[in-house]
């Protein structure tokens, strides 16, 4: 049963009321951020970069164009070429983003696979879990910035130069998968397990038909953390490796020439963020197709509506979508 609103919005009428509301909040927050940013800059300019409040003086020098470029300049920089006779910055950054995405996706895939394998091993052997899990946790306490140069050098020496960056991305990606998948594999109701025992099911069958299925929603939660993290991993991996083709190379480049064009670095960061967000949304859409049983809704909702909610609210609207869809007769 779809709720009918009194005055359907003509532009966004196709969206459920709830999604329209989240969209509204999203836009509102953009307005607040942009307004706050530009408002602060305006205040700085008006007060000659020092706000005099009687006994207190607040320095506003950070609001100068060098540290806080105008939003319109950041957006505008995307349309202009970064080098003379070069392509517009947006094209250059899109190519770099695709390059970085390939590395990130490879790392994401390796990390997920490795994480799943470890979780399966841990779920079946308490001994191995106790022995190895502390090291898995310890691995995440080493700053990735300290590790990245070593990984790059090692993979170079081993003749697998192209694998250096994906390995760093995988290093960030595998950890949430281990933790969440392990929980999903072990958090099986006793009776669900006894049911399998009553069928004299093999360990393999129990793993495949019960534990893995039970873990799927947990794994997707991990993947939503992992997707943006693998982009960060790839960018950080590019920094010490001297790879020029990705977003990491662009960031280094534009920070070296920051003084001559601050908006370019900001624009690069914007594109990097969009890449991470895009990857997250892709995972969220995939989740709606795989974890079908929780929603039982239309393909349209799966592709368009729920990722919107997913992205803006951060969690799948588990219960709300249930109540709005067809219920038992």
């Amino acid at each position: 049963m779809a709720k009918t609103t009194a005055t359907p919005n003509r532009l966004l009428g196709w969206l459920p009321e709830e999604s329209r509301l989240t969209l509204l909040y999203f836009c509102l927050i953009i307005v607040i951020i942009v307004g706050g940013w530009e408002g602060l800059k305006w205040l700085g300019q008006e007060t000659n970069y020092s706000l005099n409040l009687g006994p207190v003086q607040i320095g506003l020098s950070k609001t100068r164009d060098l540290t806080m470029p105008h939003i319109r300049d950041i957006i505008g920089a995307l349309g202009e070429p970064a080098q003379r006779n070069g392509p517009p910055l947006i094209q250059q950054l899109t190519e770099a983003a695709l390059f970085t995405f390939r590395e990130a996706f490879l790392g994401f895939t390796i990390g997920t696979t490795l994480g799943l394998l470890l979780a399966i091993i841990f779920a079946h052997s308490r001994l191995l879990q106790r022995g190895l899990l502390p090291y898995v946790v310890a691995s995440q306490t080493i700053p990735i910035l300290a590790l990245a140069p070593m990984v790059i050098i090692w993979s170079d020496k081993l003749g697998a130069r192209a694998m250096g960056v994906p390995i760093i991305a995988a290093y960030l990606a595998f950890f949430p998968v281990v933790i969440y998948a392990l929980r999903g594999l072990s958090d099986v109701p006793d009776t669900a397990l006894e049911l399998m025992q009553s069928y004299a099911a093999s360990r393999w069958t129990i793993l495949w038909k019960l534990r893995m299925q039970n873990a799927v929603p947990y794994i997707f939660t991990a993947l939503k953390i992992t997707a943006p993290a693998s982009v960060v991993g790839a960018v950080i991996g590019e920094l010490p490796s001297g790879i020029q083709d990705g977003l990491g190379g662009q960031i280094i480049n534009f920070s070296q020439y920051y003084v001559s064009g601050p908006p370019r670095l900001w624009a690069t960061n914007l594109i990097t963020a969009l890449l991470g967000i895009g990857f997250f949304v892709a995972v969220a859409v995939a989740e709606r197709f795989v974890v079908r049983w929780k929603y039982a809704d239309t393909i349209f909702n799966r592709i368009f509506v729920d990722p919107v909610i997913n992205l803006f609210v951060g969690i799948p609207p588990l219960f709300t979508s249930r109540s709005t869809d067809k219920k038992k007769k």
């Binding site: 109701p189 009776t191 669900a192 006894e194 049911l195 399998m196 025992q197 009553s198 069928y199 004299a200 099911a201 069958t205 038909k209 019960l210 299925q213 039970n214 799927v216 974890v291 049983w293 929780k294 039982a296 249930r322 219920k327 038992k328 007769k329």
Partner: protein, 257 residues
């Protein structure tokens, strides 16, 4: 008559980690013949569920003998001799209704055609054909339990072990499912049912025999033959003999306490 379950001097003692022991079952002797409907009744803690789980080889006895169709419980389980029904329906939420019914058939490597065919038959039997492609959360508790009955019957075990299957349902739904269960039991000749409950009228209405148990340690107090005529219908519940049997079971339970 062939004996389906034979239990001799069965004891079960649970040992907790801190060294405490609970004597759950003591000196249980019971024979169940093929085609019987036997209920185990008693207050909570009397070990009736424990006894059912021992038969199902979900736990192991401390001492005594237990045979199912002439096999050890382990062998009987490995040969898929029984279907087990839990108090909560224990449907897999990621499977549609029909896929849930097909689960044992998948585990037991039935062909795809046979899986489809049998699952459809079973859903017809529990009158849920229209809900084949629904997910469990879309069904009521009573409907979910009917799916779990269909699932247990899908591979045609000749022994059905039911652990308070209708305990969580309201009285009206419970009565309806009792009648449906009796209808199914009539259809599948030679099927034996062991039914755990703490509901006296339910036990009397369904069973050929009611096994009355006492708590700590769980022991069989008495076995009451239910000689009400079959088929049992809602009219059965109005007969004097039905009331008489109910008070007989109630008195036994009270004495045992």
């Amino acid at each position: 008559m062939t004996t389906v379950i034979s239990i001799e001097n069965l004891d079960k003692i649970f040992e907790s980690r801190d060294g405490n022991t609970v004597h759950a079952l003591k000196d249980i002797n019971l024979e169940v013949e093929q085609g019987e409907f036997v209920s185990l009744i008693g207050p909570s803690g009397c070990g009736k569920s424990t006894l059912l789980r021992l038969i199902a080889d979900l736990i192991e006895p401390t001492s005594g003998h237990l045979m199912i169709n002439g096999l050890s419980p382990r062998q009987a389980r490995l040969h898929r001799q029984y279907g087990f029904i839990f108090q909560n329906a224990t449907l897999y939420e990621w499977r549609t209704v029909i896929k849930n019914v097909q689960l044992p058939l998948e585990v037991m490597n039935y062909s795809r055609r046979e899986r489809d065919e049998r699952a459809r038959q079973m859903l017809e039997l529990v009158e849920l054909s229209d809900f084949a492609n629904h997910y469990p959360w879309q069904l009521s508790g009573g409907m979910q339990q009917r799916v779990s009955i269909a699932r247990a019957l899908a591979f045609e075990p000749n022994l059905l072990l039911m652990d308070e299957p209708f305990g969580a349902l309201d009285e009206m739904t419970r009565e309806r499912l009792n009648n449906e269960l009796l209808a199914i039991w009539r259809t599948i000749s030679s099927m034996t049912v062991v039914f755990v409950t703490h509901n006296i009228s339910e036990a009397v209405y369904l069973s050929s025999r009611v096994v009355v148990m006492s708590p700590r340690p769980g022991q069989i107090v008495d076995i009451v033959d239910i000689d009400l005529p079959r088929p049992r219908t809602p009219e059965t519940m109005d007969s004097d003999h039905y009331f008489h049997l109910i008070s007989q079971v109630r008195h036994l339970l009270r004495e045992a306490h």
